[in-house]
C-alpha cells in the first residue's frame, strides 16, 4: 500500500500532468476561444473513466462532465477493441458537454499493453456550422453538426470520414481541425508522462491511486455534510430567459450523509429558445459551489461528486430532452450557483456568495476588407457577488471558466476597435460587503463590411440578487446606435456602427448599514462610487471636496511611499 506522502506526491504529479496538457493546448491551439479565452478543460481518468485530476485552469464543470462522457463512450465500445493510438471524439449534447461547440476528445493510455488511464480534453471549438444565431432555435439540428462517439484516430491514424465531415461542415475548418489535432498532440504528452510516473513508482496501473484519491475525497465530503444542520431548505430564482422568463426551484436536504438537490417544480424546457440545459451540465454546475463550500482545498476528482445527488424531472429546463435546442444553456446554468448558495444561506451562511453579474458572450463573424473570413469570440464578465467577509471582485469569470480575449487580440484578428472598456461607477449591489462593479465595453466596426454580431446578454430583467440583506446588482443592457436592444438575433452590424455592452454587477452581502467607514472611503477614493450615491445608499454625509482632497492625499501618499522605497 502506498504511504500518504507518496500518494500525495503521485496525486500532485497527476495534477501537474493535467497542467502540462493544459499549457500545451494553449501553446499549440489555433483559435482565440481555446488559445486566448481558455474555454477548455483537461482531465485525467483511471482505466474505467473515473476522474482523478484536472488542470488547475480547467473549468470545474468540464471535469465532472468529461469522465461521464468517457464512461458512456467506453460502454459503447465495450465489445470492441481499444488500441494504442485510438482517440475518441464526440460533441453530442446529451453524451458530452451539452452543447455542440464543446468537443470531447478522449485517449486511452497504454502501459504494458493494457489501458491504465484515459486523458481527455473538452474544448469549445470556433465553429460547428449551423445557424449563426445563438438563442433562437427550435431544435438542436439548427445548431450545427453532431458527431456521435467515434474514433477520431484509430491506431494513430486519423479517421478520414470524421475529419472530412468536420472539415466540410464548419466555417473555419483550419481552426477547428487545428485545435482538435493540437489536442490529440497534448494527449501524447500526457500519455508519456503517465507512463513515466508509473515506472518511477514501479506501479503497473493506477487502480490503487485512483481508489485512494476518490475514497479519501468522498469520506472527507461526507464528514463535512454530517456536520451540517439536518434542515430542508428551499430557494427559487426568477430569471430573464430569452423569449420567455423561467424559474428555478430548488429543495435541498440531507439523507445518509448525501446532499440531495431536488429541482422539481422548475420551468419546463423551451422549444423556442436555445437555453435548455441537459442533465450533465446542470449536475456539474451544481456540484461546484457545494465543493467550494465544503471541500475547497481538495483538488477536483470524481470522489467529490459521490455524495451529491440531483433530482431533476426529465423535460425540465435543467434536464432537457433530445433534440431540444441547447446552444446557449449558460443562460440557465449560470443561475444554479446562486440558487445553491441561496439554499445554503440558512444552514451555512458564512460560506455563501451572492449572485454574480454573469457573462455576456459576444461573437464577431464576417469578412475582412481583403475578404478573408474571421470568427472571433470574446467572453466579458460582470462583477462577482460579495461574501461574508469580502467585497465582490471586479469583473471576472464566475461560475464559468474563460479569460477575456485581450483587446489587442480582437483588434488584430478582426476589423473591430475596442473603443472603451471601463468599470461602471455606482453599479455595485450595496451591502456590508458590496458586489463587484459591472463593466462597460464599447466596440466599433472599423472595417468596410458588415459584421454579423451575436450577443448573448443576461440579467437585463432580473439582476444578480444579494444575500443576507445585501442589495441586488444593476441590470445589464446592450446599446446599438444609442438605442437599447432587446432582440438578440444575429445583428447585421454595419461599418462605422458602435455597440456598447453594460455587463451587470454582483449582489451585495449583509445590510449596507453595517459597511465600515474605511471600506466606504476606499470605494470613494477608488472611484467605485460617487459621493452622492454613497450618501444615499449608506446614509452618510460626505462632501465632494473632502473626498477630492482625500484622493489627492492618497495619491501623494502612494507617491511618497514609492520615493522612500
Amino acid at each position: 500500500m502506498l504511504d500518504p506522502v507518496s500518494l500525495e506526491i503521485i496525486w500532485q504529479r497527476l495534477i501537474s500532468i493535467s497542467d502540462e496538457m493544459d499549457n500545451s493546448t494553449i501553446r499549440t491551439s489555433f483559435s482565440t476561444i481555446v488559445g486566448e479565452s481558455h474555454d477548455f478543460g483537461c482531465v485525467l481518468m483511471d482505466e474505467v473513466g473515473n476522474g482523478l485530476s484536472q488542470a488547475k485552469w480547467s473549468p470545474p464543470q468540464f471535469c465532472t462532465m468529461l469522465p461521464r462522457t468517457a464512461r458512456i463512450i467506453l460502454e459503447k465500445y465495450k465489445y470492441q477493441k481499444i488500441n494504442d493510438g485510438d482517440v475518441f471524439i464526440t460533441n453530442d449534447p446529451w453524451i458530452g458537454s451539452t452543447h455542440l461547440p464543446d468537443f470531447n476528445v478522449i485517449s486511452p493510455v497504454f502501459y504494458k499493453k493494457k489501458v491504465v488511464a484515459y486523458v481527455g480534453t473538452v474544448a469549445h471549438v470556433s465553429d460547428v456550422g449551423g445557424h449563426l444565431g445563438d438563442l433562437e432555435a427550435s431544435d438542436m439540428f439548427m445548431e450545427g453538426l453532431r458527431v456521435m462517439p467515434n474514433k477520431f484516430y484509430e491506431k494513430g491514424k486519423i479517421n478520414g470520414i470524421i475529419e472530412e465531415f468536420i472539415a466540410s461542415n464548419c466555417r473555419v475548418p483550419d481552426l477547428v481541425l487545428g485545435d482538435l489535432k493540437a489536442i490529440v498532440g497534448t494527449h501524447k504528452i500526457a500519455q508519456k508522462k503517465i507512463i513515466e510516473l508509473l515506472s518511477d513508482y514501479k506501479l503497473n496501473n493506477l487502480k490503487e491511486v485512483s481508489n485512494r484519491i476518490r475514497n479519501l475525497s468522498t469520506e472527507y465530503l461526507q464528514k463535512q455534510i454530517s456536520k451540517l444542520p439536518k434542515k430542508v431548505t428551499e430557494y427559487s430564482l426568477k430569471c430573464d430567459g430569452y423569449l420567455e422568463e423561467f424559474e428555478l426551484k430548488l429543495k435541498m436536504f440531507i439523507k445518509n450523509n448525501n446532499l440531495i438537490f431536488d429541482f422539481t417544480g422548475s420551468s419546463k424546457q423551451q422549444w423556442h429558445s436555445a437555453i435548455n440545459a441537459a442533465y450533465a451540465i446542470s449536475y456539474s454546475t451544481l456540484v461546484y459551489p457545494v465543493k467550494c463550500m465544503l471541500a475547497s482545498k481538495i483538488p477536483n476528482n470524481d470522489g467529490l461528486i459521490v455524495p451529491i445527488k440531483m433530482v431533476a424531472p426529465e423535460g425540465s429546463i435543467v434536464n432537457c430532452t433530445f433534440p431540444a435546442p441547447v446552444k446557449a444553456r449558460a443562460k440557465v446554468i449560470k443561475h444554479i450557483p446562486p440558487l445553491v448558495f441561496g439554499a445554503f444561506e440558512k444552514i451555512l451562511p458564512d460560506q455563501v456568495i451572492s449572485a454574480a453579474g454573469g457573462i455576456f458572450p459576444i461573437h464577431f463573424v464576417g469578412k475582412n476588407d481583403d475578404l478573408k473570413h474571421f470568427a472571433v469570440h470574446m467572453l466579458p464578465h460582470g462583477g462577482l457577488g460579495a461574501m461574508k467577509n469580502s467585497d465582490g471582485k471586479y469583473p471576472s469569470a464566475y461560475p464559468h471558466n474563460s479569460i477575456v480575449t485581450p483587446s489587442e487580440i480582437i483588434e488584430s484578428k478582426c476589423p473591430v476597435k475596442v473603443v472603451s472598456k471601463e468599470i461602471i461607477v455606482d453599479s455595485c449591489g450595496a451591502g456590508k460587503f458590496r458586489g463587484g462593479p459591472g463593466q462597460k465595453i464599447v466596440f466599433k466596426n472599423i472595417g468596410k463590411n458588415t459584421i454579423t454580431l451575436t450577443i448573448r446578454p443576461d440579467m437585463i430583467k432580473y439582476p444578480a440578487s444579494g444575500l443576507s440583506g445585501g442589495s441586488d446588482g444593476i441590470n445589464g443592457s446592450v446599446i446599438l446606435n444609442k438605442k437599447k436592444i432587446y432582440d438578440f438575433k444575429p445583428i447585421e452590424w454595419k461599418s462605422g456602427e458602435e455597440v456598447s455592452l453594460i455587463v451587470p454587477s454582483g449582489g451585495g452581502y449583509g445590510d449596507p448599514k453595517y459597511r465600515s467607514e474605511k471600506d466606504i472611503i476606499n470605494d470613494l477614493i477608488n472611484g467605485i462610487y460617487n459621493v452622492e450615491t454613497v450618501n444615499k445608499i449608506y446614509k452618510k454625509k460626505y462632501r465632494k471636496k473632502d473626498i477630492e482632497r482625500m484622493k489627492i492625499n492618497n495619491i501623494s501618499s502612494v507617491l511618497n511611499n514609492e520615493t522612500t522605497i
Partner: protein, 541 residues
C-alpha cells in the same frame, strides 16, 4: 458484335432506358418519404464508364441528366477510380459538386462486369431533411442550411459505411425517412446492376463502349444538324425576376455560330448575401441546356451527346455561378427563370418551339410534432400555369421546367393536421395571346389540429409576372395570404390552429397577338369557365 445497325442501337438504347425506368419505379415503391415517393423529386440516370450520361428514366427531370456526369467526374477525381471496388456506393450532397443544394443527395453505384467498371447508376434524390435551420430563403451561408457530405462511400463492398450512416442518422430530424430513402435507393441500384448484367449477357457484351459512343454520336450529330439550321447571330435579352425582397436582373447574350452555341450570362446580378437563392454553376448549366433540348431534340431521349455543342459561360460570383459558401437552398427561385430568359432571347430563332414564361413552382412544407401525427415533415410542390407556345395554349398547373408531381391532398391530410379547403384553377389568371398561358391555381389550407405547426413556403413571381412573348400578355402574378394578410417575406412561420393560408399561384404568359386568337378557342375558354366575359372583352375585344 462490333457493328451496330440502327435497329440494334434503338433496341439496346430503349432497353437501357427501361432499366432506368424500372429503377425509377422501384424507388417510388420502396421510398419512405413523400418528397421522393409522392412528389417524385428524384432522377435515375445511367452514366458510362467515362462518366458520360447515356440515358435516364422517362420520369426524371432533365436537368439532373446534365449535371450527373459532372458530379461523377468530380467524385471519381476526389476518391480515385483505383479506390473503388465492386459493391461500393458513392454519395455526396455538396452543392458545388452535385446539384446545387444540400437536400439533393447524389448516389452513384459503379457497375462492375468482369472486374471492370462498365457504367454507373446514379440517383439524385431530394431527401426530407439535412438538419440545419428550418428556414428556406433567409440564410447566412451554406453551413446554416444543414450537413454537407463531401464525396464519400455510402457503402463499402456491399456493407453500409457505418460511420457515415451514423453521421446522417444523428444530424437530421427524420432519420427514418432519410436513411430509409437512402437504403431504398441502394436497393434499386442493386436491382439495376442485375438488370444491366442481364442486358450485357443477352447481347454478349463485356462493356457498352461501342453502344455508348453510338448513342452519343447519333445525338451529337442530330444537334449539330439542328444548330446549323438556326440563324447565326448574337441574341441578347434581359429579364427582371423576383429575387427576394429586392429584384434581380438576368442578362444573357447567345451567340449561334455555325454548329456551336455560346451562352454568356455576364452582366447578370451579383450573388446575394444572406438570401439562399444563389445558383451554383452546375444548375445554371443544366437549366440553360434544357430549352435547347426541348426546342431542338424533343424526340431524342436525354443523353450527354445532346449538350456537347452548347457552351455556358458565367462569371464567378454572379448569382448564376455563386462562390462557396454562399447560401443556396432556394436556388430554384432563380434557375426557374433561366428558360424564360433563353426563350425570350431566341423567340424568333426557335419559332414554334419558343415558350412564354411559366407560373413557377411554390415549394411548400409543414413540419412539427403533434399527438396524432407524431413528428412529421410533409412537402407539397404546387405549380402555376405553364407558358403558351406559338401553336399551343399553356397547360394548366403543371411542373415546368421542374420535375415533381403534386403530393395528393389525401396524403397531405393524413400526414399533417391540415385540411385543404380549396384547390382550384383561377379564372382569368392566364396571360392572353393568340395562344393563352395556362391558368394559375388557388390552394387554401387550414390548420385543423390543436397544435401550432411550422409552415415554410417559397413562392415566386409575386412581383415579376410570367412574361408573354410576341405581343402575348403576361400571366397574373401570384399572391400569398396568411389569415388575410399579404406576405412578402418568407422566413419560416408559425401556422396556428385555425390559421388559413391562401395561395394564388401565377398563370402562364400568352404567346402571339391576343387579337389573333380564334373565335372557337375564346368560346371554349368561356364555356369551360377559364375566362370570364369581362376578361374576354378586355383582351380579345
Amino acid at each position: 458484335m462490333n457493328k451496330y445497325d440502327q435497329i440494334d442501337i434503338e433496341i439496346q438504347w430503349q432497353r437501357l432506358i427501361a432499366i432506368m425506368d424500372e429503377i425509377d419505379n422501384a424507388t417510388v415503391k420502396s421510398s419512405f418519404s413523400t418528397i421522393v415517393g409522392e412528389s417524385r423529386d428524384f432522377a435515375c440516370i445511367l452514366v458510362d464508364s467515362q462518366g458520360r450520361s447515356l440515358c435516364q428514366s422517362s420520369f426524371s427531370p432533365p436537368n439532373f441528366c446534365v449535371i450527373l456526369p459532372r458530379t461523377v467526374k468530380k467524385v471519381l477525381e476526389e476518391i480515385g477510380v483505383d479506390n473503388i471496388s465492386e459493391g461500393d456506393v458513392l454519395v455526396t450532397n455538396d452543392p458545388w459538386v452535385g446539384t446545387g443544394h444540400l437536400p439533393d443527395h447524389v448516389i452513384m453505384t459503379p457497375i462492375f462486369y468482369k472486374r471492370k467498371i462498365v457504367a454507373f447508376i446514379g440517383t439524385v434524390a431530394h431527401l426530407s431533411d439535412v438538419g440545419g435551420h428550418n428556414g428556406d430563403i433567409e440564410a447566412e451561408d451554406v453551413f446554416t442550411e444543414g450537413i454537407r457530405i463531401p464525396p464519400s462511400k455510402l457503402y463499402n463492398r456491399y456493407s453500409e459505411n457505418e460511420e457515415l450512416f451514423n453521421i446522417i442518422n444523428t444530424n437530421c430530424r427524420v432519420p427514418d425517412l432519410v436513411l430509409g430513402d437512402l437504403r431504398a435507393i441502394y436497393g434499386t441500384h442493386i436491382l439495376g446492376i442485375s438488370r444491366f448484367k442481364d442486358f450485357l449477357n443477352d447481347y454478349n457484351l463485356v462493356n457498352i463502349e461501342i453502344l455508348s459512343n453510338a448513342i452519343l454520336d447519333l445525338s451529337d450529330n442530330h444537334m449539330k444538324r439542328k444548330i446549323k439550321e438556326l440563324k447565326n447571330g448574337t441574341y441578347d435579352y434581359n429579364l427582371a425576376i423576383d429575387g427576394y425582397i429586392e429584384k434581380l436582373y438576368l442578362k444573357v447574350s447567345i451567340n449561334i455560330n455555325d454548329s456551336k452555341i455560346y451562352i454568356d450570362y455576364s452582366g447578370s446580378s451579383k450573388q446575394v448575401e444572406n438570401v439562399a437563392i444563389n445558383c451554383v454553376y452546375n444548375t445554371t448549366y443544366a437549366s440553360s441546356i434544357y430549352p435547347f433540348k426541348c426546342a431542338l431534340a424533343s424526340n431524342i431521349p436525354n443523353n450527354e451527346g445532346l449538350f456537347k455543342r452548347i457552351d455556358v459561360k458565367v462569371p464567378l460570383g454572379c448569382v448564376l455561378n455563386t462562390k462557396f459558401p454562399s447560401p443556396v437552398q432556394a436556388r430554384a427561385k432563380v434557375t426557374n427563370n433561366i428558360n424564360q430568359l433563353l426563350f425570350g432571347a431566341l423567340t424568333d430563332v426557335f419559332k414554334e418551339f419558343s415558350q412564354a414564361g411559366s407560373g413557377s413552382i411554390w415549394p411548400f412544407s409543414f413540419s412539427g410534432t403533434t399527438k396524432k401525427h407524431g413528428k412529421f415533415s410533409t412537402h407539397m410542390l404546387p405549380h402555376g400555369g405553364r407558358g403558351a407556345m406559338s401553336v399551343l395554349d399553356g397547360l394548366n398547373p403543371i411542373a415546368f421546367p421542374h420535375n415533381s408531381t403534386v403530393t395528393p391532398i389525401e396524403i397531405m391530410e393524413t400526414k399533417a393536421p391540415i385540411m385543404i379547403v380549396e384547390k382550384k384553377l383561377i379564372p382569368d389568371s392566364c396571360g392572353a395571346g393568340k395562344y393563352r398561358g395556362g391558368l394559375g391555381q388557388s390552394i387554401i389550407i387550414r390548420n385543423i389540429g390543436n397544435e401550432t405547426i411550422k409552415a415554410r413556403l417559397r413562392p415566386d413571381k409575386i412581383f415579376c409576372a410570367p412574361q408573354g412573348l410576341n405581343k402575348g400578355q403576361n400571366g397574373k402574378v401570384g399572391v400569398v395570404k396568411h389569415n388575410q394578410k399579404v406576405l412578402t417575406k418568407f422566413p419560416i412561420f408559425d401556422f396556428k390552429p385555425s390559421d388559413i393560408i391562401d395561395l394564388k399561384l401565377p398563370g402562364g404568359g400568352g404567346h402571339g397577338d391576343p387579337l389573333k386568337r380564334s373565335r372557337k378557342l375564346i368560346d371554349d375558354d368561356f364555356n369551360k369557365g377559364y375566362c370570364t366575359k369581362k376578361y374576354i372583352i378586355k383582351n380579345y375585344k
